[in-house]
């Protein structure tokens, strides 16, 4: 069990702390701050008492918008990450475990998905579903944005999971389970999946990062959800409200910072998980240090000689 847990070190601590802080901020602050859509405040106030992060051109409180926007982005990110993980598990594990023709077909689909440029595809699909009749209020909701990003972002994870499933498939304990009489589905779910937990967690985090950034990109282009506030829609508002031109830095710097911090924090957690998947990565820093020390020793010797 212990070898499945990441080792507690500086990288992981900073990553977990950043992500936890942002999550708490997104969950707690919306309850305390004013209505993010209230335009009763003076427009374009710089940060100060009363409005810690100032106000927007429409008189919205930036702190309130930031908190609700972070919550919206996290919702889209986690949902999109989960959707892409489910698809990656289906394509990757099935292809890797069953092999043969199934592998060929599933990997063909995965590779097609992989070579299509991501953002343009997302833009086309997003623009299409938003104008599709019959979807009603769902069409421009954050739920739909999460689905679109999830459906386009699973291919990379599927390739990684397939490789690992192929390797686990040849383990003797899988053969032993077959001899014991276990069925294919149970072998995948009970014998193989638990040993993939660190890898699956890493792929989920990768999916969340991809979706958060993708949502920010889509929203900035005006293809994001219309009903809800996210970090991306804030940036879009700041852009259309000419925040840069008028010097209203407090309008676009906070959402940008949160997106960057969230991406960095999740990536740091992922590095720690990568070390669980490939323990050799743990030795890399020590190896570098050893090399550096011995090189320094050689230079010293040469200098004294």
């Amino acid at each position: 069990m212990r070898e499945l847990m990441p080792r507690w070190d500086g990288k992981l601590a900073i990553g977990v702390a950043t992500v936890a802080l942002i999550t708490v901020f997104a969950l707690v602050v919306p309850l305390l701050a004013q209505d993010p859509r209230s335009s009763a405040n003076p427009a374009l106030l710089p940060p100060g008492p009363g409005h810690w992060l100032g106000t927007t051109k429409l008189g919205n409180d930036v702190l309130a918008q930031l908190a609700v926007g972070t919550r919206g982005s996290l919702f889209v990110g986690v949902l999109g990450g989960l959707v892409s993980l489910v698809l990656a598990l289906f394509f990757g594990i099935l292809a890797g475990y069953i092999g043969g023709v199934v592998d060929e077909v599933l990997m063909l689909l995965t590779n097609i998905n992989l070579v299509i440029p991501g953002l343009p595809l997302v833009m086309v699909i997003a623009a299409y579903v938003q104008n599709a009749p019959g979807l009603g209020s769902l069409a421009r909701s954050s739920l739909m944005v999460a689905l679109v990003l999830g459906v386009t972002g699973w291919a990379g994870s599927a390739v990684v999971l397939r490789a690992q499933a192929r390797s686990l498939r040849t383990r003797e304990y899988v053969a032993a389970a077959r001899v014991a009489g276990e069925g294919t589905l149970r072998i995948i779910c009970v014998e193989i999946l638990p040993n993939l937990v660190p890898l699956i967690a890493a792929q989920l985090i990768y999916g969340v990062i991809f979706t958060v950034l993708g949502e920010a990109g889509l929203s900035y282009l005006g293809l994001g959800p219309t009903g809800s506030i996210t970090l991306g829609t804030m940036l879009n508002d700041a852009q259309t409200g000419q925040a840069v031109g008028t010097g209203a830095w407090w309008w676009f710097v906070p959402p940008g910072t949160i997106i960057a911090a969230l991406g960095a924090g999740l990536s740091l957690v992922n590095f720690a998980l990568d070390e669980v998947v490939d323990p050799r990565l743990r030795q890399a820093p020590q190896a570098v240090r050893r090399q550096r020390r011995s090189r320094a020793a050689i230079t010293r010797e040469e200098a004294s000689a």
Partner: protein, 288 residues
């Protein structure tokens, strides 16, 4: 007892693998036309070097590989490839793998490994009955107190203990035949005998038919009734274990026997070396 009752037999087994490198594919003849019978209550040893095709035969009998041609018969009936009949075959024919560090899932407890085959093949048992059976199986492979071992995970066990778990798992469905693929080759020399004796005891108690695959002639002779020597996919020699070992006919068997550590011969060698050294030493002392 009719002649075909209680027999697991391999009939003209052939297995050819295709090694693909680029566009070319070369056939590898792992097993060429091998036939033998394992009768309940007796042990057949299959001896040969690495790559001689022994493990392929084990995997064919355990239904992990399908033979290129030939078939496996249980009580004279060709073995099924799927469905209920395959489950029934698996209930009766089980396998112990070579590497106890690889054949147990690191994620699951000892209880899981032994309990699953019981549940699969005896769905009518209640949870309490299954638990009792698991305890009984662990006791039988001398992992006691069973309750303390049941909750452990493979990495908390020694190699010998792991292999005992693997044996308990093989017995769990109520197996009548056990294919043991080099069951002790990955274990420490000091505990090999314990595991082999356990297998032999269980075989006597439960009237098992055992196919003991090994490259160790000494244990093959000691633990088996019949012995088959495999070389490059062919059975080159077979017969009662003592005959094959004491009066080997095929040059390969003779070479195997020569290569095996023989205490008497080692002693003789040592004497020879000593004799040839003594005059040297005497000469030196004389000249000094």
């Amino acid at each position: 007892m009719t002649p075909v009752d209680g027999v697991l037999s391999a009939s003209h087994l052939v297995k050819t693998f295709r090694l693909r490198s680029g566009l070319r594919s070369t056939p590898v003849h792992a097993v060429k036309n091998v036939s033998f019978e394992v009768v309940r209550g007796r042990t057949v040893a299959l001896v040969g070097e690495s790559g001689s095709g022994k493990s392929t035969i084990a995997r064919i009998l355990a239904k992990l590989e399908t033979p290129t041609s030939g078939q496996v018969l249980l009580d004279g009936v060709p073995t099924p490839t799927r469905g209920r009949a395959l489950a029934e075959y698996r209930r009766r024919v089980q396998m112990v793998f070579q590497d106890p560090f690889a054949s147990l899932n690191p994620f699951h407890s000892v209880a899981h490994h032994v309990e699953r085959p019981v549940r699969i093949h005896h769905p009518e048992l209640t949870s309490a009955q299954v638990a009792a059976r698991v305890r009984d199986l662990l006791d039988r492979v001398q992992l006691s107190p069973a309750d303390r071992f049941a909750s452990r995970r493979p990495h908390e066990l020694s190699g010998g203990q792991r292999q005992r778990v693997a044996i308990a798992r093989a017995l769990a469905p109520g197996a009548q035949y056990v294919v043991a693929d080099e069951p002790v080759s990955m274990l420490d020399v000091s505990i090999r005998l314990g595991v082999l004796n356990l297998l032999a005891d269980l075989q006597r108690e439960q009237h098992l038919g055992v196919l003991y695959i090994t490259h160790d002639l000494a244990t093959a002779r000691h633990f088996s009734d019949e012995l088959l020597v495999m070389y490059r996919g062919d059975v080159v020699e077979r017969g009662p274990a003592d005959d094959v070992i004491l009066r080997p006919q095929h040059p390969y068997t003779q070479a195997l026997r020569e290569a095996a550590a023989d205490p008497e011969r080692l002693g003789a060698l040592r004497d020879e070396v000593r004799r040839s050294l003594r005059p040297l030493g005497q000469e030196r002392s004389a000249s000094a």
